[in-house]
């Protein structure tokens, strides 16, 4: 059947040579006037005929369901003429009732009603004495719905042959229509004989029985129904028939039914048996052809889409360089890089890239996926000029509650990369997406990492991805040697030999990168190293005697504080705007507890380099020592108001408040901060809040709470917090299990000395000794100042104020050292601990331990 969708499809137009006949529709089963006609099938657009698809003969169109047969009109005409003329020719050559019936039947088959009528008139006269032909004509007319006309033929046939079953049935049906049921039954008596079902159809008997029932003659109806059940036992299982019989039985108030007991069947149970043939889905060849057609269309669309995808790939060209580069893809085009990713359309294949501008490189690359990946994969090809851009691949899961943290993968250092799957290349991910409540979806994003790379390094370090952190930090310092955070991360993560190689290679770079040199100088500890460094830097100073940076750096490796101060002074004089000499001179003041003397120098360093975290940290410590609480609080609160998520500011404020024992207000700062950082994402907020909380708990001395909180945290930060709490709670043995004495990679002498302090504070001097000896060993292998400090621990040594003044150590370490020394030298304890308390300013671990030890000894 033709069909249209939104006016597009196939449709019949035209209606000629119409003929109708009364019959039962083959599709819906309703009795109707079925129509046959000629028409034309068109392909239509908005129901406007566009392409003719051929003339059709519509056969037996049902007025109710519109179902019909359709054949090619010319084929129909050919078939009709050949069959009809064939039958007519046979009749003409051999005029018997059989050939007459065949010819008439052919005319009816091809709906030649007029011709059939004419022919019927001819043969009814010609074979007037032939009962079979007369009966046939009756049947033929009945089939065309002309029951009244048929009766005369049946009548005639019956007169000729009263035994003829067709004639008896035809007349009986006429009697039934006219409600002459007794006459009808008489004629149909042969159907009531046993075995009649094997010779005849019993349908007329059922018609008669139903007629009796309608007429209220239930006794007769039941007699006939009984005959039917006897002849066709299966009929007794058909629901419709059973209901009909039961109706008559009910009318006669019969207590016993003639119906057989119904057999149980699941098909009956589910009501399937009645319309089985109509309803059972059967896959026909036509259905299969349609299905195959749809599959072919689907496969074709998929193949075209695949080919389109293959020919329309995007190469993203990115650069982390400050100056734009020119990228030429041979055979495709040229493009200049910018701050964002530039997309270049190309088909899959092998290419040659030429990069020029700030750097020059040439390489071959291939853009390719396998066939099936083009359907499901989301690959992205990135040409990263010189590997200079830092890209971040993030896989973000969307779900209603508590989505997991995103998975992050950095991409850098490679000139060409295929990254997949990426659903959102260089476009922002949606904040929310609409989906079912129990659903989860993961989108992947690739973009430049816009934050300082050090943040990513820190992230990797915190999440135990040391290899990623090392790779990233090395790439970063090669590209940006002045990135101190990357530099320090690199040196802490890389193998010492590798770190030395990398750092040494950058020493000759000019202008001198002080941070680079400082880290290089700090690579090793010991007098030999410093001596060797002094020779190296003296060589450099020969070439550049007025280089402030080199003068400063030379001061860092001088043999004593006095010499250092001279070098720093020279450096300051050589370049008053170099912050490092100011900072170094301030450090010297601070190391002897002269906080007031150190303050202006630190302040100058901060003034010259406000972004220098080390300078500002030192100045904060200095001001804390000078108890400038009020101005500090005011400044920090103001800064926090403008940068509410700045961790360093919040941390400083907590320290300031804790130093004043204003724990409640410090807790308030913590609460406010944790709210502010929620916008950074749940995981980030949790980590930042936790770090600040742990600092608050330690700074305010609530070690039990700190221990509770860190007990279940297996991260390095958590284990450190637990260690700290247990030391401060006097549970040194438990603390020792977290960081045992033989812990590899721990070479900080002050850690070991602090542990000896803890054991002594816990009352076990015996256990303190190995820790102290280990600390002193490490110290002895250190700088000149450290070696001198060890000498003070000699059994005969009597530390003097001058000796202590001459130790150019960091105040925090020096405080630990003096606290331990005080415990060993009872005679000088008072002086030593007083000095230690003066230097114990930094409120991070082991601030409270030192404070406690020095206080007890007071």
């Amino acid at each position: 059947m033709p069909s249209t969708y939104n006016g597009i499809g196939t449709h019949y137009y035209g209606h000629k040579n119409s003929e109708t006949r009364s019959a039962t529709c083959h599709s819906c089963g309703r009795a109707a006037n079925l129509e046959s006609y000629d028409t034309r099938l068109w392909f239509v657009v908005v129901f406007i005929p566009v392409i003719p698809l051929g003339r059709k003969r519509i056969i037996d169109q049902c007025p109710f369901c519109k179902r019909h047969y359709a054949v090619d009109a010319d084929q129909w005409e050919t078939s009709k003429q050949l069959n009809v003329s064939g039958a007519m020719e046979r009749y003409q050559s051999d005029q018997t009732p059989e050939t007459a019936m065949e010819a008439h039947q052919q005319l009816l088959n091809f709906h030649q009603n007029a011709e059939a009528t004419e022919f019927r008139r001819e043969i009814e006269e010609k074979f007037r004495q032939n009962a079979k032909l007369q009966a046939y004509l009756g049947v033929a007319l009945s089939g065309k719905g002309m029951a009244a006309d048929a009766t005369q033929y049946f009548q005639r046939a019956l007169e000729l042959r009263p035994d003829l079953p067709e004639a008896r049935v035809g007349m009986a049906l006429d009697h039934i229509r006219n409600n002459r049921l007794a006459e009808a039954r008489k004629l149909l008596d042969f159907l009531e004989t046993p075995g009649a079902v094997q010779l005849y159809s019993l349908e007329p008997l059922e018609t008669l029985a139903n007629a009796y029932q309608r007429a209220g003659q239930h006794e007769e109806a039941l007699q006939l129904y009984h005959c039917l059940i006897e002849a066709l036992p299966h009929a007794g299982q058909i629901s419709g028939f059973r209901k009909t019989v039961q109706k008559s039985e009910k009318a006669l108030k019969r207590k016993e039914t003639m119906l057989p007991k119904r057999k149980f069947s699941w098909k009956n149970f589910f009501g399937r048996n009645q319309q089985r043939s109509a309803k059972v889905p059967v896959l026909t060849w036509r259905g299969l052809a349609i299905l195959t057609g749809l599959i072919v269309i689907g496969v074709s669309i998929a193949a075209v889409r695949n080919e389109y995808v293959r020919r329309h790939r995007t190469l993203y060209i990115v650069s982390g360089l400050k100056e734009p580069a020119t990228v030429e893809i041979r055979g495709v085009g040229t493009m200049r890089t910018s701050a964002r990713a530039e997309g270049m359309k190309l088909g899959e294949g092998k290419y040659h890239a030429v990069v020029s501008g700030p750097l020059r490189e040439e390489f071959d690359f291939e853009v390719r996926t396998d066939y099936w990946d083009r359907f499901s994969g989301d690959p992205v090809w990135v040409l990263n000029v010189g590997g200079s851009a830092l890209l971040l691949e993030s896989h973000v899961t969307y779900q209603r509650d508590s989505p997991p943290p995103p998975k992050l993968v950095p991409h850098f250092g490679r000139p060409f990369e295929k990254i997949e799957p990426i659903t959102h290349p260089f476009v922002a991910l949606p904040e929310t997406i609409r989906m079912e409540s129990n659903q989860r979806r993961t989108l992947s994003h690739l973009d430049f990492f816009r934050e300082p790379p050090a943040r990513m390094i820190t992230y990797f370090q915190l999440n135990g991805r040391a290899a990623d952190a090392l790779r990233l930090s090395e790439w970063r310092i090669r590209l940006q040697p002045e990135d101190e955070e990357a530099l320090s991360a690199f040196t802490s993560l890389a193998a010492p030999k590798r770190a030395e190689e990398v750092l040494r290679a950058g020493l000759q770079r000019r202008p001198v990168k002080i941070s680079w040199h400082r880290i290089y100088q700090n690579l090793h500890r010991g007098r030999e190293w410093n001596t060797w460094l002094a020779v190296e830097y003296d060589e450099m100073l020969k070439a550049e005697p007025k280089n402030s940076a080199l003068l400063y750096l030379r001061g860092r490796i001088a043999s004593g504080p006095g010499e250092s101060e001279q070098w720093f002074a020279k450096a300051r004089d050589a370049d008053p705007k170099n912050p490092y000499p100011h900072f170094a001179l301030g450090f010297h003041r601070a190391a002897v507890g002269d906080w007031a003397g150190a303050r202006p120098m630190y302040a100058r360093a901060v003034e010259l380099a406000p972004a220098g975290a080390e300078f500002s940290e030192a100045l904060f410590g200095c001001r804390l020592a000078l108890q400038e609480y009020e101005p500090l609080e005011k400044e920090l609160r103001a800064k926090l108001a403008s940068q509410p998520r700045d961790f360093q500011t919040a941390s400083h404020l907590v320290d300031v408040l804790a130093a004043q024992e204003r724990s409640t207000e410090a807790a308030g700062v913590l609460t406010t901060y944790s709210k502010q950082v929620q916008s950074l994402g749940a995981e980030n907020a949790r980590l930042l809040t936790l770090a600040l909380r742990r600092q608050f708990l330690y700074s305010s001395g609530d070690f039990a709470a700190l221990a509770r909180e860190a007990a279940s945290d297996r991260t390095p930060a958590g284990r450190n917090a637990l260690f700290t709490a247990q030391v401060e709670l006097g549970k040194v043995a438990e603390a020792e299990r977290v960081h045992p004495i033989d812990e590899p990679k721990n070479s900080d002498p002050f850690h070991f000395i602090a542990m000896s302090l803890a054991w002594i504070a816990a009352g076990d001097s015996k256990k303190a000794d190995p820790w102290l000896q280990r600390g002193l060993q490490l110290l002895a292998a250190g700088s000149g100042d450290e070696a001198r400090a060890v000498a003070l621990f000699g059994p005969d040594a009597v530390p003097t104020a001058e000796q202590l003044q001459a130790l150019g150590l960091h105040p925090k370490g020096k405080a630990i050292l003096l606290a331990a020394l005080g415990l060993l030298k009872p005679e000088q304890r008072k002086m030593l601990h007083a000095e230690a308390r003066r230097l114990n300013v930094d409120r991070s671990y082991p601030y409270q331990l030192v404070r406690r030890v020095t206080a007890e000894q007071r």
Binding site: S93, F190, P194, Q198, W372, F375
Partner: protein, 641 residues
């Protein structure tokens, strides 16, 4: 492949491998392998198509490859199911009374002895049936893939009519088909042929009419493959039958073997031609199957036939010829092969009717179990035929009623062929052809070409052994092409029974030709296109006169062309094509509606000695019209201005 082609193929194979049985076996093994490959290739195709999706799918992470895996899995599941559905043919095991070792130790002892002597496979079941036959039935557990169970069927009438020695020969013959004595391969090929024969027959039956199944494609392969395999296997199977006879003669002695072959043949005729028809006649009178049928059967066997029947059946037994419809050779050939063909058979002197021997094989081998077995076999028979018996009884009642009404309703039936034919048909249905013979003859007096009467009378006459029946059947073949197959079938059976090999072959060839022509002819007669060969109309002036008058009476017709289609089948039939050219100004397009009205009007009036297509040279008829114009003398009408 037609019968004639099959016979030719069998003859060719026989000639080719006459002295090379080993080569025939090798050829058959290859053909069997091809058959299995042809059937298993479906699974291979499904696996291959599924692998196209599964292999790439397995090479990917699940989240990317799931769709491929799903498609591959669906193809594997549904394709595998569809193929399994196509190949799955279930053969039901034969039914009958199972005879256990405990019940009949003598019978099982004989079977064991033969099995050991002939190194044959054993039977899973021994069952006794109501047929006068013995057979090994193979029911494959895996459909076309084989793994059979062997059932030995022994007919109770057979057991009752043979001696123990003769039954031993029969059993030895059946064992020989399972025996390794003459090569397992031959036996396997013999059984494979029988098994595939049943299975392929079932494969030709669709599950649901109109539903999609791959089965037609498999059937196409089978239609190509099976005749080739069968022709080769047929030759081997026939050889196998002779070998089985030889083995049986060796194992049981040639005399019992010859006696068994002769006795089975003639006693089977006694039962099938007399005992069972007579018994079923009782269904017209008795509402339920009678009791003691197998006792009566035994009595009939003991009583033997009448002298006339004896002569007829003995003659038929020895005269019947071997045909390619069955691998079993005819009785004469089998007896000759074991050198026990009675003297005088070729001169028409046949051995006397073999009397029943005492004690029978049934009594000897079943012993005390015979009684219960007979009761059980009869009970099974009663159960099996109960419904048919009741239906026949009811039908008889209805037919009697019809017969009565016919005789009452038609005062002078002799004057009315139709009522005579109705009577004759009723009598045939109720009784037999013989009972209706007078009516049939009366019909033929009135209408000598009456197809039905000729057919029934011909059938009856051949049955009773009168060659006059041939004439009636030939008349049927001439008159009604729809009855050709049935009439030829009767003639074929008659000529085979009477040993007329030449006529058997002729009938087979005739049937082949008819079957090939019937379908093609129907297609040929129902269409005509430009692709057909058109020839001159070959009508006389008198025959054309009417048409020309009609054309002249239509002023719009300017020319007419007439030709006929060259018929390749049933050349007597004629199909004419009449093309009408209608007057039309040169600048106007054809008026299709007018042309159609014109052709329709003329079609109703044109009378030619055959089928006619009247058309105008437009639309899809244009090409036909162009071709028709090129036919000599096609232009039969031109209107001059």
């Amino acid at each position: 492949m037609t019968r004639e082609e099959f016979d030719a193929h069998v003859r060719q194979v026989e000639q080719q491998f006459a002295h090379h049985p080993q080569a025939l076996r090798v050829r058959l093994i290859w053909l069997a392998a091809l058959g299995y490959a042809g059937m298993l290739a479906w699974f291979g195709t499904v696996i291959l198509v599924a692998a196209l999706f599964l292999v790439p799918g397995l090479g990917k992470p699940l989240e990317d490859g799931w769709l491929l895996l799903l498609i591959g899995g669906l193809i594997l599941a549904f394709g595998g199911w569809a193929v399994a559905r196509v190949l799955w043919v279930r053969l039901t095991p034969p039914e009958g009374r199972v005879v256990t070792r405990a019940e009949a130790p003598a019978l099982h002892g004989m079977l064991d002895d033969l099995r050991h002597r002939l190194r044959a496979a054993g039977f899973h079941r021994v069952i006794v049936t109501s047929a006068c036959n013995a057979a090994v039935n193979e029911v494959p557990r895996l459909g076309v893939l084989g793994w059979p169970r062997h059932y030995l069927q022994l007919g109770l009438p057979l057991l009752e009519s043979l001696s123990a020695a003769e039954l031993r020969a029969v059993l030895a013959h059946e064992f020989a088909h399972l025996s390794a004595r003459d090569g397992r391969i031959s036996g396997w090929l013999y059984r494979l042929r029988r098994s595939w024969d049943q299975i392929f027959e079932k494969l030709h039956q669709p599950y649901v009419q109109g539903a999609v199944s791959l089965r037609p494609l498999l059937v196409k392969f089978i239609d190509w493959f099976w005749p080739r395999f069968n022709a080769h296997a047929f030759v081997l199977s026939r050889v196998n039958e002779f070998q089985a006879d030889a083995v049986a003669a060796w194992a049981a002695g040639p005399e019992p073997m010859a006696g068994a072959l002769f006795r089975i043949d003639v006693y089977d005729r006694l039962l099938s031609d007399r005992f069972w028809p007579d018994l079923w006649q009782r269904a017209n009178r008795e509402p339920a199957p009678p009791s003691g049928v197998f006792d009566q059967l035994r009595t009939t066997l003991h009583a033997g036939p009448s002298p006339e029947e004896s002569t007829k059946w003995r003659e038929q037994a020895f005269r019947i010829v071997t045909s390619n419809a069955d691998t079993h050779p005819c009785l004469t050939s089998r007896l000759r092969a074991i050198e026990r063909l009675p003297e005088g058979v070729s001169e028409g002197v046949f051995p006397p009717w073999p009397p029943i021997v005492e004690p029978s094989a049934a009594e000897t081998l079943l012993g005390a179990a015979l009684g219960p077995i007979r009761v059980d076999v009869e009970a099974t028979w009663r159960k099996d035929c109960g419904k048919a018996w009741t239906e026949r009884h009811a039908r008889a009642a209805s037919l009697q009623h019809r017969l009565q009404s016919l005789s009452q309703a038609v005062p002078d039936p002799a004057a009315d062929v139709d009522s005579l034919w109705d009577q004759a048909r009723t009598v045939i249905n109720l009784e037999s052809d013989a009972a209706a013979e007078p009516l049939l003859r009366k019909i033929l007096e009135l209408r000598p070409d009456h197809v039905g009467a000729n057919f029934c009378l011909g059938r009856h006459l051949l049955e009773v052994g009168y060659d006059a029946g041939q004439t009636h059947l030939e008349r049927v073949i001439e008159q009604d092409e729809d009855m050709v197959a049935q009439a030829c079938g009767l003639l074929h059976a008659h000529f085979r029974r009477t040993g007329r090999t030449d006529r058997v072959r002729e009938i087979e060839a005739r049937l082949d030709r008819h079957e090939a022509a019937l379908a093609a002819s129907q297609t040929e007669r129902s269409n005509i296109t430009a692709a057909d060969t058109l020839i001159p109309h070959e009508l006389s002036a008198a025959e054309l006169e009417g048409v020309l008058a009609l054309l002249a009476a239509e002023p719009e017709i300017v020319a007419a062309f007439l030709g006929q289609k060259q018929m390749r089948h049933f050349r007597k039939q004629r199909l004419f094509a009449l093309c009408l050219e209608v007057q039309r100004p040169w600048h106007r397009l054809p008026d299709r509606d007018f042309e159609r009205t014109m052709t329709k009007r003329l079609f109703g009036k044109v009378r030619l000695p055959g089928r006619v297509l009247v058309f105008a040279p437009s639309g899809s008829f244009a090409a036909l019209a162009r071709k028709l114009r090129t036919v000599p003398d096609a232009r039969i009408f031109s209107r001059t201005k």
